[in-house]
């Protein structure tokens, strides 16, 4: 749900570089963990969970599609969530769903959703049964990561190489016209955006986006709860919290 659906080239190069480098460093760190004899058995799990997430994303639910990232995060655990998130985002970028250069940022956002989900789930299942816990945690994690996503979109400045130009005859773009505040140097800016023409601010857009995402998060939460209920009925040993309470 919180996948950052941004095309390539709309984020500053510094953001792209830092996030991709951070993910690469984290991947090398997790790879060291996965090479260990005991953790090696988790490699197939990472692969098939990633494939399952990709397939779940192809299931439409009205205007939404499933993600199952929080459920996958609970099942995969914190260390492997990053690898799962990276694989899913790389494959999505390969088919044009999100830019290739924003794979790092998308990986961090979905991994944060998985980690938040995992952490909250472990914390609240001490008091709350697993099924309502996973439903609630899914909604919370998606809303939190959506906040991050909207924050990124709001904070993102256009790359320096591409800024607005007011000289009608050249098609060049200059920084001075980037703001929506009005004409610069006596020049009249060209056509405004659709949102601008409707008199909307970013806060207005966020106010529209949040309820839509909240509805989708609720759908995903219900689905995650029902899937977990099925797993608890059929193979309870697969569900982390149930294992812990049995010990």
């Amino acid at each position: 749900m919180s996948h950052l659906h941004l095309p390539d080239g709309v984020l500053p190069i510094s953001w792209v570089a830092v996030t991709n480098l951070a993910v690469l460093i984290l991947l090398f760190a997790v790879a060291g963990y996965l090479k260990g004899e005991r953790s090696r058995r988790r490699i197939p799990m990472v692969a098939v969970l990633s494939a399952a997430m990709l397939l779940a994303m192809s299931i439409p639910l009205g205007p939404y599609h499933l993600n199952l990232s929080v459920l996958a995060g609970i099942l995969a655990g914190p260390a492997l969530s990053l690898v799962v998130s990276f694989i899913v985002n790389l494959f999505l970028a390969f088919i044009g769903h999100g830019g290739l250069t924003v794979v790092g940022l998308n990986t961090l956002i979905i991994a944060s959703e998985m980690l938040i989900g995992y952490g909250l789930y472990r914390a609240i299942t001490r008091w709350v049964p697993e099924v309502p816990a996973v439903a609630a945690v899914t909604v919370i994690a998606i809303l939190l990561s959506t906040t991050v996503t909207i924050g990124v979109a709001a904070a993102a400045r256009l790359p320096d190489a591409l800024v607005v130009h007011s000289h009608h005859d050249e098609g060049h773009v200059h920084e001075e016209d980037r703001s929506a505040s009005g004409p610069v140097d006596g020049q009249v800016p060209e056509v405004g955006t659709v949102a601008e023409s409707l008199g909307m601010t970013f806060a207005h857009l966020a106010a529209i986006i949040f309820p839509v995402i909240a509805a989708g998060a609720t759908v995903e939460g219900v689905m995650s709860g029902l899937i977990l209920a099925f797993l608890l009925r059929t193979r309870p040993e697969l569900v982390p919290a149930r294992n812990r309470t049995k010990r």
């Binding site: 709309v10 197939p44 130009h165």
Partner: protein, 237 residues
């Protein structure tokens, strides 16, 4: 799903292989690098348009099955248009440049994947990523097709049992949850079987990725020239 279509085209099972299929993976990676550099460095609409034109020319040389692959570009196009529509303070040249940039980059990466068999793609990824992560990518790719068939079978079973009815969302959601629950179980079982098979074969990280490294040869000149052109257009113009 799109991944299956891209795989079939890259292996030459769908459509006729064009010039681009004969280009080496390294040359195509350098082409993509040129497109990325050119698109990101372009400072005006004209430079961005030239980069887009060179990518379009590459698609023409590749001669993919147009009707099947053009829909792959719809999503990046919609993303770019949506971003531009919601972006405040953009003039029309900048808006067009952003749309062209998003489409050029998406078209570049999709073209490379449409014409490069996956062992060569993973061979390239091995250069940048940890071996064990590339192993996960390879396994994910293989199991995507296996689990896709499994999921299709589960949905067929759901429909045959009348578990999917129009106008009954509650009933459908419960049925879908059962399907996805079964799907997760199939996923776990697949992972367990896979782990046992890997142990029996003496798995060591890095051995799973086919790692087909294809160097640069003379016949790779179209990819290299187009990539260089795109990069230079973005930097110089």
């Amino acid at each position: 799903m799109d991944i299956a279509l891209i795989d079939a085209i890259s292996q030459g099972q769908v459509g006729q292989p064009g010039v681009w299929h004969g280009q080496g993976a390294t040359a195509k990676a350098l082409f993509l690098l040129g497109v990325v550099v050119g698109a990101l460095a372009a400072r005006n609409l004209y430079a961005q348009a030239i980069v887009a034109y060179l990518v379009a020319a590459s698609w023409y040389l590749a001669r993919p099955p147009w009707r099947q692959v053009l829909p792959l570009l719809v999503y990046p196009l919609l993303l770019s248009v949506a971003f531009v529509s919601l972006r405040f303070g953009l003039s029309s040249p900048a808006a067009w440049a952003l749309i062209l940039r998003g489409i050029s980059l998406a078209a570049g990466i999709i073209l490379v994947l449409l014409t490069t068999p996956y062992p060569q793609v993973f061979g390239l990824l091995q250069l940048f990523l940890p071996a064990v992560v590339v192993d996960c990518l390879v396994l994910c790719y293989r199991y995507f097709f296996y689990l896709s068939a499994s999921l299709a079978g589960l949905f067929a079973a759901l429909r045959l049992r009348a578990g999917w009815r129009r106008g009954r969302p509650g009933h459908n959601v419960a049925g879908l949850a059962r399907v996805l629950g079964s799907f997760f179980l199939a996923t776990y079982d697949s992972a367990e079987r896979l782990h046992q098979a890997m142990e029996l074969r003496g798995y060591r990280p890095g051995r799973l990725a086919p790692g087909v490294w294809v160097g640069i040869s003379r016949r790779d000149w179209p990819a290299l020239v187009l990539g260089l052109g795109a990069g230079l257009a973005g930097i110089i113009l």
